[in-house]
Subunit: 344 residues, 2 copies
């Protein structure tokens, strides 16, 4: 059983800490303490009202040790995947204290000479979850079986809830007795699910093969694979990863994720078209290779008050003619029903 | 100066030897001999009528040595990029003879314990050209400068001439005094050009960044970058690589490559739509991110007789309203004029 010290040094309240947020939200029992000197002395809930965790935040790794963590989880996702310098001391202190370290960065702990040498000495195990499996095959087309049930989350941008939405749908569907299986495609999803492939770390030629492998594996665990999405088909930098999932997973259904009010891709000038058009863009793109429909719209309304959230959900339904919901706010039932009805 | 022994063992007349074909066609002066026991005793021209090379084909590496090669070039591209077992003896013999070895396979010679140990002993240098540069940055959006001149080859499938077309356009344009720069994106292109990045070997998250790096570098060498394309936006397995080039290179113009008569993606059931529709698919896909137009159609008519080739070219023009040509058959002038006119 994992008891994590989650390291977010300076970033706990930012989008860069989405790995920490995901683990705190979906595996709260596995977090003993958070290490972040900028928020020390408070609880997670006090810093992040939307995350129901009473884990304490402390200012250093040394102060975290009394909470008896058995591993340090690097709780940030950085552009380019480098380990921030501000986080090195805590990682080295953790290794010196004999804790294992779990990281989802592109930059591998195992390739860091100083960290690897310290781990060799202390016996700490370094888990780089972004590293893909050694043998990813090329895409074969197995995942295009006509009878398979694969639902993929797509989105208008990065960080609009593609993982969270699938976890909420999974939670409701499992509770309702459905045999669904979440398939993690990113580092946070893997940390939550305990398995998966960080597809953006796979060599491009093998991306669709990795997606196919994930679907195969999920369909051994359940009747319906719920695949975490990545990026956006309109994202100037990350669309290749999205397309790898769209073709490689060969979904028969999509859930389109969006943050109401977002009109451009974060960090770029690319406009996000209206939801109705975005539905069409995805369906048109897939039409030539493996047709699939968008079955529902998932909205991240975390920045809105309850009334505004309801209005946004209603507006999305009116615009697209599809069921819409914010599953973090309202649970996964409505989105699951949209999938299940189509399944029937 | 390279004097290659080109290894194609059993594959010289097949599509898997496209690396050998490319080097034989565009760098004939660098090929001393071909090693392929299935075709030993003939010349390249006798085996491949479309390749104007008098290089002899011999049955083993030992028989190649009298032609004084200074390096062995592994002349095949295999699915998954493994070194075929039938080729190991020649590679080991080459290393034992002190030849350098150049390979564009995913499987790295440097990671092959037996080959690497032999090379360490003989002093042979192993060049794995599929290995990307160590530091590929994330995509920044620099390549989306409105005034840049970038032409990207796209296609209806793999192996429909996306590299060859750009090399023929480059050849004509340079002879006409234009400052163009070919940018290689695959192993064969790199072997011909002497530089480039095999983008399908880049980790997915960095694919668009690698494409941007290639464009930056090409635009230092010339006013117009002519970028070799990869895969197809409709290819079930390789579309992510295509999308990485489409977004990462941010072309302002496309040349659409096709083999007349091909109606499905090789190895898959995916239909290739009519050319006119394929033009629209590309332009629609780019419209949201960095609009670009298809300026010309390049046809691979190598399987057709001259009359049938002319009819295919005429039909493509009639269907699309765009200039069309087979630049291998007729030279790169017509396609270059289509690009240059737009440029003006």
């Amino acid at each position: 059983m994992r008891r994590y010290a989650v390291l977010t040094e300076g970033k706990l309240d930012s989008i860069y800490a989405k790995t920490a947020h995901g683990v705190l939200r979906y595996r709260p029992g596995e977090v003993a303490v958070v290490v972040d000197s900028a928020f020390a002395g408070r609880t997670v809930r006090e810093v992040l009202p939307s995350v129901d965790s009473s884990a304490p935040v402390v200012g250093s790794l040394r102060e975290a040790l009394p909470y008896a963590p058995n591993a340090l989880l690097v709780g940030v996702a950085t552009d380019g995947g480098h380990l921030p310098n501000a986080m090195r001391p805590a990682v080295l202190d953790a290794v010196a204290a004999g804790l294992d370290v779990v990281s989802g960065l592109h930059e591998r702990l195992q390739d860091d000479v100083e960290i690897a040498a310290a781990a060799a000495q202390s016996g700490s195990v370094l888990f780089d979850v972004r590293v893909p499996p050694r043998e990813v095959p090329l895409f074969q087309g197995r995942s295009r079986r006509p009878d398979q049930r694969v639902v993929l989350a797509v989105g208008s941008d990065c960080a609009v809830g593609k993982m969270t939405v699938m976890l909420e749908i999974e939670r409701f569907a499992l509770a309702a007795g459905a045999r669904v299986a979440f398939a993690a495609t990113g580092q946070t999803g893997i940390m939550i699910a305990g398995s998966g492939i960080a597809v953006d770390g796979v060599v491009s030629d093998f991306l669709t093969g990795a997606a196919e492998m994930l679907v195969d594996e999920a369909l051994e665990r359940g009747d319906v694979a719920l695949v975490e999405g990545q990026g956006s088909v309109l994202h100037p930098a990350y669309a290749p990863v999205t397309v790898g999932l769209l073709y490689g997973c060969a979904p028969d259904a999509l859930v389109l994720c969006h943050r109401p009010g977002s009109t451009t891709i974060a960090g770029f000038a690319t406009s996000i078209p209206p939801l109705r058009e975005l539905v069409r863009v995805h369906e048109d793109f897939l039409a030539y290779v493996k047709p699939a429909r968008v079955l529902a719209i998932a909205l991240d309304t975390s920045a809105l008050d309850p009334n505004a959230a309801d209005r946004a959900i209603f507006a999305a339904e009116a615009e697209t003619g599809l069921p819409a919901d914010d599953p973090v706010r309202n649970g996964g039932e409505k989105l699951w029903r949209a999938i299940e009805t189509r399944r029937g």
